[in-house]
Symmetry: C2
Subunit: 344 residues, 2 copies
């Protein structure tokens, strides 16, 4: 088993099974009152591969994967509701959960969820978001699936005074294989765009000449910042020339091959930031949400342009799933004792 | 055997064995007087893989590969000189053949060649070219190996009136896995830069989400031109966003998945051209040298910017090798009959 497991001791009763089920990995949380994390599991298992044209074997495959992820939690507590976000709700996943088209508020309700029956009950899938392309080409289409739930969670994790709706628009950047830049205004997601920076970095390092040029090394922040500077330089020779330039630096003895990966990471992130920041600058303030190391890199990439950032943790997905489940009525928060006192 | 062979009937005597021996493929020509192609072979065999630390087994490996490529030609005509360009002269190849540092004229002489003895005689390796990086960072380093010989050949293939030195500077673009943009002034290569456009296209299509989005299709010039337009648009969302945008077009039913590869090719080439053209615009005229289909794509990408192009064929490498062999005195051209008449 390739599970990463984590158990929180405590007396809180389980209230919700929540999954962030992506293309290549799966995170499962057992949540107690208020979305408190009681247990957490992660494994490098995502969508099933091609399962041929037989929908029955496809369904059986996902049922088995779901049972492996959280069957014991549901066995112990059969009435627990279950909710999932991510690519499991795509056409390549268990069941297509559709998209909400932006602009949309973040109050995803019961009618927006897709119920997938399974032997232990029902799994509720969160819809993705899409940008509808304009017929005249002035707006490009885009899609996200899973990140909408992280955004809901991230906004809930902000200090209460910072939560939208506020007067100030907010940009949220979610770094990853396919990074998302998202604009929130008046409690609505009004635009977003995807960059495949993370995928490109992975392809270059796993299969390309840069991966063959690099040697195994330790993290080198100075090399990353040097890559950022290269990728930010004006005039720009462009990403395609600067990536080959990384190899030349090594050939010329000007860059340690063990530091090449960090340098390349800087070049790629700088290219993403320089192109997307103009449309997503938010009065000099951006919220980062995701893997801590990646968020640190993006924070530095944005700092180059004078943009301050705040970071919220990856657990945003768990909080988002809790929030959606409450909004949709899958769970009813137990009133706080204080609230009970206030009741006449 | 994975050879592609071609034999030209004729009475011309062999004068030179010439190889363009790259990382992943090898082309071998038997050349007659004036560089006339008598026979041609190509195979998808390039450099040896990692051969461990044993230099003797490495040498034996390259000797065997060389013998397989052209041993029969040398067996039939043991006094034929042999010359090679390309990555075979790199540190990962048979023998490191060094670099000439630009600015350099294109008259590569005997002293510039590296002689590698082998059981049938000597193979002469053509050096690569390098741009020395400026200490203040104002000039980025770069390298080429093999393309210098194609350039020499391409210039020889130009109509005589067009050959440098002329008053007009010339830009030569060699599209490929690692495209080269080269500036020639007064018979000297004065600058060049490399883009890994071709490698990135291959990685995306072989290993990335775009390859999984695409279906097998036929060539679609309109999709390529649409990709060019996207990659040229102002303001630019950048290569990383536009590549993901290609997938969204397919999801939205706005692009046939069978046409995705041509669209992506257009996006990538447009990004290369928009960044490198400013430094390499040559009074609105550029010479393209390489694979015919790739050259057509670059010609269209340059046309978007109002730049006219001429294309010379891939055989430029054979002509370049002949030219270097003559300059270095490995072969002496037989005087033309006309020339003999002029001799008093």
């Amino acid at each position: 088993m390739d599970w990463v497991k984590q158990q929180t001791a405590g007396k809180s009763s389980p209230r919700l099974v929540a999954l962030d089920w992506g293309t290549s990995s799966q995170r499962a949380w057992l949540l107690g009152e208020g979305g408190r994390i009681l247990a957490f599991r992660r494994r490098e298992f995502g969508l099933l591969g091609a399962t041929g044209d037989d929908p029955r074997s496809r369904t059986h495959g996902y049922e088995a994967a779901f049972d492996e992820a959280c069957g014991d939690w549901l066995e112990a507590d059969p009435d627990l509701p279950a909710i999932a976000c991510g690519m499991v709700g795509s056409a390549q996943g268990w069941r297509e959960a559709g998209y909400l088209t932006i602009p949309t508020d973040l109050a995803i309700g019961a009618a927006d969820l897709t119920a997938v029956p399974h032997p232990r009950g029902v799994l509720h899938l969160v819809p993705g978001l899409r940008v509808a392309p304009a017929a005249d080409g002035s707006v490009a289409g885009d899609v996200m699936r899973g990140e909408e739930t992280q955004i809901i969670g991230a906004l809930g994790l902000l200090p209460r005074t910072e939560r939208p709706p506020t007067e100030r628009p907010l940009t949220i950047v979610l770094p990853g294989t396919h990074s998302k830049w998202t604009r929130v205004e008046n409690h609505k997601i009004v635009s977003f765009v995807t960059s495949l920076a993370g995928e490109m970095y992975g392809l270059m390092m796993q299969h390309g000449i840069l991966g063959r040029t690099a040697t195994v090394g330790v993290r080198n922040d100075a090399a990353f910042e040097r890559g950022l500077a290269t990728g930010t330089s004006v005039p720009s020779r462009g990403l395609l020339a600067e990536l080959f330039g990384a190899r030349v630096l090594v050939l010329d003895g000007l860059l340690d091959p063990a530091s090449l990966p960090d340098y390349v990471s800087g070049v790629i992130i700088a290219d993403e930031v320089r192109h997307l920041l103009p449309d997503y600058a938010a009065e000099g303030r951006i919220l980062l949400c995701g893997n801590a190391d990646l968020c640190r890199r993006y924070a530095k990439g944005l700092q180059v342009h004078g943009v301050a950032t705040e970071t919220v943790a990856e657990e945003a997905a768990a909080q988002g799933l809790w929030h959606v489940a409450v909004t949709a009525g899958l769970v009813r928060p137990t009133p706080h004792k204080n609230a009970e006192k206030e009741t006449p």
